[in-house]
Amino acid sequence: MSTPILARTAPPPPRRRVGTPLTGWLYAAPTAIFVALLFVLPLLVVGKMSISDWPLLGGDKGINFPDNFVSAVNNRFFLDSVVFTLKYTVLATILLIALGLGLALLVQESTRWKGLLRTAFLIPSALGLASASLLFYVLYSPLAGPFAELSKATGFTFLGTPDAALWSTLFLIVWRYAGFYMLLMLVGLQGIPDDVYEAARIDGASRWQTFTGITLPLLRPTLALTTILCVTGSLLAFEQFYILTKGGPDNSTITVVQLIYNVAFQGQNDLGVAGALSVLVLIALVIINIGQLRAFRPADED
């Protein structure tokens, strides 16, 4: 997904013939090999798995075409996990985009604390998601966490009820990713030329008018990028729930990818059904991403 910023800063190079077609193939080969080995091949294996009877411990036992998909859809957590994943995605996307934009504006406006603020917001992004989840696991722990006393006194636990578990996880995600989205937004904001703002000021536009009339429309490509990243990332949420809640309490926080993992490795041990679920998720993601790209297409492009 290229952004218009890139498109603007890189003028099309003059077409020139360099070497033979073979040289061209050689240039493309490293990327092509990587894509084939690390993307196309696993994708084909998952496809094969999804139509095969393939127990984790027993290996490939031959074609089992529609059955895997029937079992996948009939899994007792299928619907719950889809609903929960969508709910989580909507909440995470709204929070992250709004906060990312808000922080970016704050950092851009503030001159004195700019460096400090920018660094402070960005630091959590330097931590891997799994490490961050473990950190919060301890933080939320009613036994060992710093809030253990508070939990004991009030009876409240961070991961004890379905809602608390969802919001506790969302807090972790916001903490971990807000800075990253702020950075993307900042890049977008800095791509908006100053003269547009100057023109607005001359015209006497208020701050709010400037924001809704200039910043938001000109930020559209960045918003598209961040929304797509955020939606796709949230739909594939796994580590945070795997580490923090394990799908609990009472199976209330099972995401789709977690369901795939559970079917493959925790109980059913059926790679065929897990593969079928993965293929369904892949199809859903392709459709959702096409929809998003359409929705964010600049209005004047048609």
């Binding site: 994708l43 998952v46 984790l56 007792r76 394990k246 795939i260």
Partner: protein, 433 residues
């Protein structure tokens, strides 16, 4: 804004695929299996001790025992065993991935409840000839041996027995005015003792503890109550759940009463397993159903008894791990040398009993160490009355983090307790898959 055109649909499909596919691809990566070579019996009844390096995998809860055994073996043999300890939750995934890519270690241990399934899937080599050659075969723990027997062939020996026992903190019992030398004999007495300790109102100290989000813990500690009451938990084939009997319901009700009265460690509600015994080990819990393997690492004076049923009786879950030679091992005679030594008196008494662990051989239950500690005799005696349930879908029905068994106990104890029959049907449905 500058307009930019590009061919739309194909690009987007590819972009979507790239965005979506990379994470999913992680699940892939397994190849069909083939059966390994080597016959464990070819090295004779003792196996071969020729300086081969063997690999052994086990899961974290039995790390201590596994290390002791491996160190003792390495110190007295030419063969050297390299031990790999895997976190409990990741063990099945790791074994599964290795089985798919034919890279299992020479020896690996498995939670005894998974053994029937894994043996059926062909992960272990047939050890019948070697095991039949053991003079003490009849005194090897039958629960473990039969879990590893498939179509009349034995594949697995007991690695470490882990028995669930009733442990009580004698100091807290005394403070609560209970007899520190006498075990609660029924579920009711158990509940009364927990409430008595709770009534001391000591800071951070609770009557009892368990793991309400840990299917394995509850299997391990609640099934014995049902057995001790004279009932079964499943039919003999392991395809029908019988966890809605009157005694079972009585046991859930006792726990619900304990939970509602505040005599259970509050963090038990979300306890998923990693720290379910921590409260007792810290001396902050009066009495609990507890793994006997932790006897030696419990630093204060504890009493030990079998787990009681509704009207008395005593039983235990004969858990722990079985061990066998993997289908991928090319060092079967050498691996058998380890297994043969592991079953010997040197290992059973000299290593396990010395560490206050139960022996896997009933003929060695009375030994120099158990005669010093009557609690070990209790453990070994109750082991004889214990049980090891067998079901092909055991993991999915009981141990998995989203198992229907967890739903049952959470509804029965933390909820209103009216859905036991429906939840029990759900377990049966999973067992029959």
């Amino acid at each position: 804004m500058r307009k930019h055109n590009r061919s739309r649909s194909p690009f987007r499909v590819v972009a979507g695929l790239v965005t979506a596919g990379i994470l999913i691809a992680g699940v892939a990566g397994c190849a069909p299996t083939s059966t390994g070579s080597g016959d464990a019996a070819s090295g004779g009844p003792e196996g071969t001790d020729d300086g081969t390096t063997l690999t052994l995998w086990t899961r974290a809860p039995l790390e201590k025992q596994a290390k002791l055994l491996v160190d003792a073996y390495n110190g007295s043999h030419e063969n050297q065993v390299e031990l790999t300890v895997v976190p409990n939750d990741d063990y099945v995934a790791k074994v599964g991935a290795a089985a798919g890519s034919n890279s299992l270690p020479d020896l690996f241990a498995a939670d005894i409840v998974y053994v029937p399934n894994w043996v059926q899937q062909g992960l272990f080599q047939d050890l019948s000839t070697s095991i039949d050659g053991l003079s003490f075969k009849d005194s090897i723990n039958q629960g473990h041996l039969s879990a590893g027997t498939y179509e009349g062939k034995e594949h697995v020996l007991p690695f470490v027995l882990d028995l669930s026992m009733l442990f009580w903190n004698k100091d807290l019992f005394e403070q609560a005015g209970l007899d520190p030398e006498k075990a609660p004999a029924t579920m009711e007495e158990f509940a009364d003792a927990a409430k008595a300790v709770q009534a001391l109102n000591l800071p951070d100290t609770y009557g009892t503890a368990t793991g309400f989000n840990c299917g394995g813990c509850e299997v391990f500690t609640w099934f014995p109550s049902i057995w001790a009451s004279g009932d079964e938990v499943m039919n003999a084939e392991g395809t029908e759940s019988l966890l809605n009997g009157d005694n079972a319901k009585e046991i859930y009700a006792t726990w619900k009463d304990l939970w509602d009265s505040g005599a259970v460690l509050p963090s038990s509600k979300d306890e998923a397993g990693p720290t379910w015994t921590a409260g007792f080990t810290d001396g902050k819990v009066g009495l609990m159903f507890y793994p006997a393997t932790l006897l030696s690492s419990t630093p204060f004076d504890v009493g030990v008894a079998g787990i009681p049923g509704v009207d008395g009786g005593a039983s235990t879950f004969v858990g722990g791990d079985g061990i066998g030679i993997s289908k991928d091992s090319t060092h079967s005679p050498q691996a058998w040398n380890f297994l043969n030594w592991m079953m010997s008196e040197d290992a059973q008494v000299g290593v396990l009993a010395k560490d206050s662990d139960a022996t896997s051989r009933s003929d060695l239950a009375d030994n120099e160490y158990s005669s010093k500690d009557p609690r070990l005799i209790t453990i070994n005696e109750v082991a004889g009355n214990g049980d090891t349930p067998v079901a092909i879908n055991f993991q999915q029905a009981f141990n998995a983090p989203n198992s229907p068994w967890l739903t049952l106990i959470r509804n029965a104890v933390l909820g209103d307790g009216t859905t036991v029959d429906a939840d029990n049907d759900e377990i049966t449905a999973v067992l029959q898959q």
